[in-house]
């Protein structure tokens, strides 16, 4: 392990980014789903910085109850404060806490990395919301912490929104979708907004993220069994429905639906489809004036031909170098290697390493916070 570390250091040489740490994570028996996602999140720099910030600010409040947030913050602090530049760390406390918290992750079975990411982000949001409420009720008059001060106001300004609190997790990952339904009889458009922390996309063989996003936003007709109840017509009507991105998130997480339930088989199957993901992504199906531009910084890769077994690794871009994280191993890779994780152009292929969760960060003018 030490040898691989020094190899990476040698490979980077004097280009080793200052203050950056590249640490592998130990596997505690099928915890690669967790390791791969943790690496992607660690190299999501705004998220990491805000988490470390939060941790250093709240440490003084006294050792409150241990939760997933404190365990994650603890792990990230541990990595970033290592004396050595490379090495291996055991995310023991975090994994223990995760297993305690959710029985799904308790077994030694192969787990779904997307399910874990989703659970983790929602859990962090819950913890932050609870804390904010506690602070609010503690000191009604005193102003809430600076970090969340914008949240309630903008929330109320929007009116009927039930989710007034915008935590730093939201600020990073949350986007807004709008679901427009147009009644084909009275032409009334009903728009319903919903927030998302990641987008799950249906995939097709030999396609690209851009085409999958286009399908995601394509117009769908609701008819026959699946009619729409129009409030104006007060009856079930044929309608057209489409999803649009109203507010693109700062960090866009795209989950490719590679695990599909096949009714005829009565089980899940992994779709090995080749789905091209660009290093720079333009979102054109948004409602904002300018097209949002994103840059790919992490990919969680599923290795294996089926849904119930296999392995997870991650590719991470840090300071313009691409790194390959496979549990405790960290290697440098060339950018051109990223395209070997697009998938298989034909059904029977020896290549089983497929991009599964993609992390894009907004670049250019859309940069907030």
């Amino acid at each position: 392990m030490g040898a691989t570390g020094s190899k990476l250091e040698k490979a980077l040489g004097d280009q080793f980014p200052e203050g950056e740490r590249y640490f592998g994570l130990e596997n505690f028996g099928n915890t690669c789903y967790c390791n791969s996602v943790l690496q992607a999140l660690y190299f999501c720099v705004p998220f990491r910085e805000q988490l470390l910030d939060y941790y250093s600010n709240n440490k003084s409040i006294g050792d409150a109850e241990e939760n997933l947030l404190t365990c994650l913050a603890d792990l990230f602090t541990q990595i970033s404060s290592q004396k050595k530049k490379t090495g291996v760390i055991a995310p023991k406390r975090f994994v223990q806490r995760l297993k305690k918290q959710n029985e799904i992750f308790r077994s030694y079975m192969h787990q779904d990395a997307h399910e874990f990411l989703n659970f983790l982000l929602n859990e962090l949001v819950d913890i932050l919301e609870k804390e904010a409420h506690a602070i609010k009720s503690d000191a009604e008059s005193s102003s809430p912490p600076e970090k969340i001060s914008n949240g309630p106001k903008t929330g109320q300004a929007n009116g009927a929104q039930k989710e007034p609190l915008v935590t730093w997790v939201h600020k990073n990952f949350q986007g807004l979708l709008t679901n427009e339904t147009r009644c084909l009889r009275c032409e009334t458009v009903t728009a319903r907004d919903e927030t998302f922390l990641d987008l799950s996309l249906d995939i097709e063989q030999n396609s690209s993220i851009t085409s999958c996003l286009k399908n995601f936003s394509s117009t769908e007709t609701l008819n026959a069994e699946d009619k729409f109840f129009c409030d104006k017509c007060c009856s079930l009507q044929e309608a057209q429905k489409r999803m649009k991105i109203k507010k693109p998130p700062h960090i866009l997480v795209i989950h490719l639906k590679r695990f599909k339930y096949i009714e005829q088989l009565g089980r899940y199957k992994k779709l090995l489809y080749r789905v091209v993901f660009p290093l720079e992504l333009k979102l054109s199906n948004t409602m904002e004036d300018a097209d949002s531009e994103y840059s790919l910084f992490a990919v969680v890769v599923h290795v294996g031909s089926g849904p119930n077994h296999g392995h997870y690794v991650s590719l991470v871009k840090s300071h313009n170098h691409w790194l390959f994280f496979d549990d405790e191993n960290v290697e440098m890779i060339d950018e051109s290697v990223v395209q070997t994780f697009f998938g298989s152009a034909q059904e029977y292929s020896s290549n089983t390493d497929h991009g599964y969760i993609l992390f894009y960060e907004s670049i250019g003018t859309g940069n907030k916070s």
Binding site: N206, S208, T210, R274, V276, E280, S336, A345, Q346
Partner: protein, 545 residues
């Protein structure tokens, strides 16, 4: 071919003689399975023709690497195709078939065997090829062995006299090998393979103007570049390059991947080599390849700069630092005046080559640009975006309304992408260019020079790079034809007088006959177009006029 290659290996290495039967058997089984899966997958929803407004294009021939040859590095090597036309050999004492009796016999047998195996076409070839592995294989072993031995002594001692005449050849790379096929032969298997032991070939270019000497350039993943004579390769029976000039040996000038090579038209043997680190080098084939030049350190990576070699005897003669990140493709206008480059940074740049000057450029909408090509008219230029892997102009297509050509020029061009589809586009200058001119400054991908539009020249000074256009400001063009031609993502596209050639990343090439040409006659004229690699399905285009 494959069988003979096996024979060659085994007779050379005593350890592998024992293996030979094994390899023979396994290859045979694996290849038969490949051929069946290929046959299956090829037939899965893939038609052998496609319809266009001008008629039906029919699948004429297919070319591929020998069965059982599987590139190891999945996805890393992308097949590119180059067409090469050899003219009749100039009157000269050609290699007499009597140079050495045993050798000529061997090459004769070889050729006969190749011919024999070639007959039948399609799967029949494979079956015969592998039956031969047991029976006739022995004879071939013997001959190829002597052939290779002599070949290693002196490359000129055995020559296959069958390649003296004219012919059109297809050059494509798969994994660590370059294959050469005869465009006008129904034989699916290549007639020649060139193996590279140190690094994978990535790009190649053929110089149709070369009067003599070297006409084929090959760029490697290691950064090394070779120039060779195509005819000499065809006439040699070995698997190695013969009579090659080696430039940038072991990356002595630049050790990053060689991404694109191009002969400079009308330059008498000068060529450029683009690298993955954003540098481009100019070489002259007449100069000594072994003397390397050192160039000053690039001070500002973000700035375009040209450095000329101090000594006029050395190679390369100049270095152009073009951009940060990889240069993905380069293309010269047919008159050799302008050089276009596209790269990872998403910019298309157009240079006045002889003046070392950046004229104009623009950023793409979707990000990294992969390929670019010129039409025959140098100022009508199309650049293509991330998800298109190959693009080419069809200079043989003429607009049905060619009578009013002055007012309305229509260009036919094609693109291939990772969605396995071939798209054909008709670009009408009055429909596309005029709306573009109405765009607000800065948001427009148009650029003009000369007297074409003084208005735009006043806004954009020479050498300005335009930012990426906004989606809504760019007129959308829809393809006239979209056809799924292969099962694998595509990587190359070429137009010839009689046909369209499509190639997929894994090294399968299909030749689609144009509707008009009934005859299967030989000799395609010069071709237009280059291609490069990477992602998908959507196409955007912008025109520089």
């Amino acid at each position: 071919m494959k069988m003979m290659n096996n024979g060659y290996n085994s007779s050379f290495n005593s350890n592998s003689v024992g293996l030979m039967s094994n390899t023979g058997a396994t290859t045979a089984s694996s290849s038969s399975s490949t051929s069946t899966t290929n046959a299956n997958s090829q037939s899965q929803g893939l038609k052998t023709y496609f319809k266009t407004p001008e008629g039906r294009y029919k699948l004429h021939y297919e070319k591929t690497h020998p069965p059982g040859f599987l590139p190891f590095s999945h996805g890393k090597s992308v097949s590119q195709v180059t067409l090469a036309q050899l003219k009749d050999k100039p009157a000269q004492a050609g290699p007499a078939p009597s140079s050495s009796s045993s050798a000529s016999a061997s090459s004769g047998v070889r050729y006969a065997a190749a011919k024999f195996l070639g007959v039948g076409g399609g799967n029949g070839v494979r079956a015969i090829g592998f039956a031969g592995g047991n029976g006739t294989g022995k004879a071939v072993n013997g001959t190829s062995r002597s052939g290779s031995l002599v070949g290693s002594n002196g490359s000129h001692s055995i020559l296959n006299p069958n390649y003296d005449g004219k012919g059109t050849y297809l050059i494509f790379n798969v994994g660590d090998t370059i294959f050469i096929g005869d465009l006008n032969s129904p034989d699916k298997d290549p007639i020649k393979s060139l193996h590279f032991s140190n690094s994978n070939p990535i790009c190649h270019a053929f110089d149709p103007e070369a009067k003599d000497g070297h006409d084929l350039l090959i760029g490697l993943n290691s950064g090394d570049v070779y120039s060779v004579s195509l005819r000499q390769q065809l006439q040699d029976v070995g698997k190695k390059l013969v009579g090659a000039q080696h430039y940038n040996k072991e990356g002595s000038v630049n050790n990053s991947r060689c991404t694109s090579v191009a002969w400079i038209p009308k330059s008498d043997g000068a060529f450029v080599v683009a690298h993955a680190d954003g540098n481009l080098y100019v070489y002259e084939k007449s100069k000594d390849a072994s003397v390397d030049t050192s160039f000053p350190v690039i001070k500002d990576q973000t700035q375009f700069s040209v450095a000329h070699a101090r000594s006029s005897k050395s190679n390369p003669i100049a270095r152009w630092h073009i951009c940060q990140g990889s240069i993905n493709n380069v293309a010269f206008s047919t008159d050799g005046v302008y050089l276009a480059t596209v790269g990872r940074d998403g910019y298309l740049r157009v240079f006045d080559y002889s003046k070392d000057q950046l004229i104009c450029g623009g950023k793409s909408y979707y990000g990294a640009l992969l390929c670019c090509t010129w039409s025959l008219n140098p100022w009508h230029f199309v650049d293509f975006l991330l998800q298109v892997s190959g693009v080419a102009f069809d200079s043989y297509w003429s607009s049905p309304t060619s009578d009013d050509i002055e007012e309305n020029v229509v260009y036919r061009f094609g693109s291939v992408g990772q969605d396995t589809q071939l798209l054909l586009w008709d670009l009408s200058m009055d429909e596309i260019v005029v709306p573009l001119r109405r765009c607000p400054p800065g948001g427009s991908p148009t650029f003009s020079t000369g007297s074409q539009s003084a208005h735009w020249d006043s806004i954009t000074p020479l050498g300005t790079l335009q930012p990426a256009p906004c989606m809504r400001d760019v007129p959308k063009l829809s393809p006239v034809v979209a056809h799924r031609v292969h099962t694998e993502p595509l990587s190359g596209l070429l137009f010839t007088q009689e046909s369209i050639l499509t190639a997929c990343r894994e090294g399968h090439v299909k030749i689609w006959m144009r509707p008009s040409s009934e005859s299967q006659s030989s000799n395609s004229e010069a071709l237009v177009g280059g291609s490069s690699s990477l992602a998908g399905s959507r196409v955007g285009s912008s025109i520089l006029k």
